[in-house]
């Protein structure tokens, strides 16, 4: 999907910041367009360019994105879902980066 924009990669200093940048790009540029028809599919958002790569399955989206953008940094999103993946087992309440987990959306 062609949506050129410029992101300051110097600000992407943690996984959380990469994820936040990807979520922001998705909300601003892709959400309204994709959620009516592509719910449950996946988009890999290149946070360095704003480009999004949509596919039926997560590995397809990431492979397509890497092929098109060899130096990209991608945030993977499941379209229309509260998180890319659901997890039910064994994750502590606080994450590795020492920050509280995000609150429910």
């Amino acid at each position: 999907m062609n949506s050129k924009m410029s992101i300051d990669v110097k600000g992407l200093t943690s996984p959380e910041k990469i994820a936040d940048a990807g979520e922001l790009i998705y909300a601003e540029r892709y959400k309204g367009q994709l959620e009516p028809d592509r719910r449950g599919h996946f988009i890999a958002v290149d946070v360095t360019s704003g480009e999004g790569y949509v596919a039926d399955y997560p590995e397809q989206a990431l492979q397509e994105a890497r092929k098109a953008s060899p130096y990209g940094i991608f945030h993977l999103i499941r379209i229309g879902a509260p998180g890319t993946f659901r997890v039910s087992f064994g994750i502590n309440r606080h994450d590795f980066w020492g920050r509280p987990l995000r609150q429910p959306r």
Partner: protein
């Protein structure tokens, strides 16, 4: 057709063994013993420290959501995974704060396998036909 058998760990969790390969080893790579977690929608969840020994190529990030609605961020890698003699490329979530290796519903989809679980035994079956898109349910 039976593809293999799983086992229960000391806590009673259903488990299977698979091999995962980054760029540090030749295929099939290192063997892992993983909990089969049908509440996990992804492919493989791996504690962060294993990414160093495997040298998994990082792709970026993804988010996860827990049953209580809270969530977090994990790093995302792609790894060559071998199970039952079959090699597939799948997404590995390097999730902080967990010491458990998990395989989820996407692992079953990619390897086209199903499970039969009884009190003392886990049988793993290959599907005979193409997987429907049923994993897309919310």
């Amino acid at each position: 057709m039976t593809s293999g058998v799983g086992h229960f760990d000391s806590l009673g969790n259903p488990c299977l063994k698979f091999h995962l390969c980054g760029v540090a080893h030749d295929p099939p790579g290192l063997e892992f013993d993983a909990i089969i977690d049908t509440g996990f929608s992804g492919f493989i969840q791996l504690p962060m420290q294993h990414a160093f020994s495997l040298k998994l190529p990082l792709e970026g990030t993804s988010s996860y959501v827990l049953a209580d609605g809270s969530g977090g961020t994990s790093l995302t890698a792609i790894g060559h995974t071998t199970f039952g003699g079959k090699l597939v490329l799948g997404i590995v979530n390097l999730t902080p704060g967990s010491q458990d290796v998990l395989v989820g519903m996407d692992f079953l989809r990619r390897f086209k396998i199903g499970l039969t679980m009884t009190s003392g035994r886990i049988k793993i079956f290959e599907e005979e036909s193409e997987q429907p898109d049923s994993h897309r349910g919310s």
